[in-house]
Each structure stands twice: as structure tokens, then as C-alpha cells.
Amino acid sequence: MANSPRPFRKAFSLDVYAVVLALALALLVRLNLIPPVKW
């Protein structure tokens, strides 16, 4: 089954999703597309 596509979940680890989310949030903040985040 060499040609069978790898399931999306297995192709990328949790780390990669976390990095993508964090970078996307950083970009939104940089482009002022989300309001300032308060704590």
C-alpha cells in the first residue's frame, strides 16, 4: 500500500498544529486584525 495517502492526522504531529495556530495568532496580532488581548 505504498501509494495510499497518509491520514492527515498522522502526517503532522500535535506540535505542528500548535505552531501553526500560534503563528496564525501572531500574524493576526501583527496585522491588528484582533483587538488587544488583555489578561
Partner: protein, 360 residues
């Protein structure tokens, strides 16, 4: 000739999978926010009445609330998938936390951490193996405990298990022991740090080097102070970066004894085990250093990382089952506990030395 039509299992839609996470995510948010609310309420109350009361961080409240819920009413099945995402939020939070470090600081403190980690790992792996032998533990269980306590807890055990072909039972024992010890360190480390009057940097470095799981190390740091939490994350991230090398070393050792498969492409193996969030952390730190973000934007990123950590701390409490931890045999726990005390003392000595000679 009859043919049987094989219906391929329909992949669950992304939307459905996300919907399944929602109840648990809401629970994480509710518990985390309740922790923050309790901290703020106590602070406001004691301040208004001029009462001197130690500030108990939201981190502790969130963990304790989670622990109480998980060990009294339990976590119904519907919440479990969402609660299990706490590690995802931890990693996203660490990447965002990169914005609070200039790359120079990362290289300085990260370099010191790596040096201390290398010394600590060598000594602690040796010590754990001697202990395992003294307590007559199975050699692979000892390997898992050694990897878990000297590198990065559960992730290291999960990474090492298939590489050294350890039993499921050994892995569960090792994970349970590491989780129990992580929970204990959450409550003991800040107390020891305060009694020794450690600076934020020294304490953060110590917590990052000695506490096993990344979530617990982050929490143990944040329980001391915000600055200590930041340093703990950096030190722990440096430690995590070495996971591939140690697991590879064990895999080569066990395959040389004919008890695990040979590793073909070592570079690919190292890349597969390398925690990718470390790269995200470095990238955000580089962008912050280059002035890509304005000051208010840096504040927003720091706050976003706090919110993601809030979900993580709630998850640490919610996933800790005291009953499960009690079920394990006493020997793996004893080996883990003695090893942890050794590692805590060793890293404390190393941090003192680094503070003296390398000026943290």
C-alpha cells in the same frame, strides 16, 4: 463468484471532530477562569480590608479545582477529548511565549540550560540505572523511568517506548510514576524555592531542569512568579530539544542487544522525535528581536500565551487521577521518587554553581 463490497470506513468530518472537543474545551476554560477569578477575588478582598495574605496564583487554584473535579465527580466521557487538548494549548503557549524573549537571552539562558541539562542527564541516567538494578526493576522499565525523569516526562516515555520496544505495562507504570512525582513537585518546588530565597531566574532554571513534564514545569515556574515561569519554560524547552538524542541512544543500545529493531536513517529519526514547537518558539523570538511586533502587540502575544497556559493548568488538574496513581506498584514509584530527589538536588547544585560562575 460472490464479492463482498468493502465499504471504507467514512472518515469523521473535521467539523464533527472539532465539535467533539467543545465540551472539554469549555470545561478547561471554565476551570481555568475560575482559578483566575478566585485569585482576583481574594486579592481584591484582602486589599480592601488591608489584610496581609500571601498571593496564591491562579495556577494553583486552577490545578486544585481540576484535581477536585477529576477525583470526586470524575470527568464524564463527553469532556475527555477536549480536556486531552491541554498539551496542545501548552505548546501553542510556549511558541507565543517566544515573543517575550530576545534571541540573545534565549541563546544565553538556553546555552546555560543546555550545558546544565547535559551534565544533569548524564549523571541522572547513570543514577537511575543503578537504582533500577538495586530495586530489581525490569531493565526496559528502568530505561523508561530514566528517560522520563531526566528528559521530559510523559512525552519522552511515549517517544522511547516504540523505539526500545518496551511493554505497554512498563510504559504505563513509568508514566504513572512520573505523573505522580510531577504532581508532588508542583507543591514542593515553590516552597523549597521560597525557603532558599532563590531569585526568579535561579528558581525558573531549577524548575525547568528538574520538573519532568513540560506542563508541570511551566506550572511550577508560574507558581513562583511570572518571571520564574518564563525562565522555567525556556530551560524546559532546551531540555525537550534533546529528547531525540537520548531516545536514539537508548534505541541503539537495545538494538545492539537484539531487543529492539535497528534504526536505519538516524537523521530522520532525530527529526521525527524533535519537538517542533521549539522551532516555533525560536521563530517568534527572532521576530520579536527583529522588531517585527510593536510594544502593545508584544503585550497581546504575552497575554495570549497566558490564556493558553490557563487552559493547560486546568488540564493538569483534570487529568490527574489519584486513584490511578495509587494503583501502580510501589517499586517503580520508589525508584522514580528517589531518582527525582537526586535530580532535584543535583540540578539545584548546578543552578547555584551557574549563578556563581556564569552569572544568570
Amino acid at each position: 463468484m460472490t464479492t463482498t463490497a468493502v465499504t471504507p470506513a467514512r472518515p469523521e468530518s473535521l467539523l464533527r471532530r472539532l465539535a467533539a472537543l467543545l465540551p472539554g474545551l469549555l470545561l478547561l476554560a471554565a476551570v481555568g477562569y475560575a482559578g483566575k477569578f478566585i485569585e482576583q477575588s481574594i486579592n481584591a478582598y484582602t486589599k480592601a480590608r488591608h489584610i496581609t495574605f500571601p498571593n496564591i496564583e491562579y495556577v494553583l487554584w486552577a490545578i486544585v479545582l481540576g484535581l477536585v473535579i477529576a477525583n470526586t465527580v470524575g470527568i464524564p466521557r463527553i469532556f475527555q477529548a477536549g480536556v486531552a487538548t491541554y498539551e496542545f494549548w501548552l505548546k501553542a503557549g510556549i511558541v507565543l511565549l517566544g515573543s517575550r524573549f530576545l534571541l540573545g537571552d534565549v541563546l544565553h539562558l538556553g546555552g546555560i540550560s543546555l550545558l546544565l541539562v547535559a551534565i544533569a542527564i548524564t549523571l541522572s541516567l547513570t543514577f537511575m540505572h543503578l537504582l533500577g538494578r538495586a530495586f530489581k526493576l525490569k531493565p526496559k522499565l528502568t530505561s523508561l523511568l530514566a528517560v522520563g525523569s531526566s528528559i521530559c516526562g510523559v512525552s519522552a516515555i511515549i517517544a522511547a517506548k516504540p523505539a526500545i520496544e518496551a511493554d505497554d505495562e512498563d510504559a504505563s507504570y513509568a508514566i504513572a510514576a512520573i505523573l505522580a512525582l510531577g504532581a508532588i513537585s508542583l507543591f514542593t518546588f515553590p516552597l523549597i524555592g521560597h525557603s532558599l530565597h532563590l531569585s526568579d531566574k535561579a528558581y525558573g532554571l531549577w524548575a525547568g531542569l528538574a520538573v519532568d513534564n513540560t506542563a508541570e514545569a511551566t506550572a511550577a515556574g508560574a507558581l513562583y512568579s511570572d518571571a520564574a515561569g518564563k525562565v522555567a519554560v525556556l530551560a524546559k524547552t532546551s531540555r525537550n530539544a534533546l529528547i531525540g538524542f537520548i531516545v536514539l541512544g537508548y534505541a541503539i543500545y537495545w538494538s545492539s542487544r537484539g531487543q529492539a529493531q535497528k534504526i536505519g536513517n538516524k537523521a530522520a529519526f532525530l527529526w521525527q522525535k524533535f519537538p517542533k514547537f521549539v522551532l516555533g518558539f525560536l521563530l517568534i523570538s527572532l521576530l520579536a528581536t527583529l522588531g517585527f511586533f510593536a510594544k502593545p502587540q508584544l503585550a497581546s502575544l504575552a497575554n495570549l500565551s497566558r490564556w493558553t497556559f490557563l487552559l493547560t493548568f486546568a488540564g493538569v488538574g483534570l487529568r490527574t487521577s489519584l486513584r490511578e496513581l495509587g494503583k501502580q506498584g510501589w517499586r517503580p514509584f520508589a525508584v522514580g521518587a528517589i531518582g527525582e530527589v537526586f535530580i532535584a538536588l543535583l540540578t539545584l547544585g548546578l543552578v547555584y554553581g551557574a549563578d556563581l560562575y556564569l552569572h544568570l
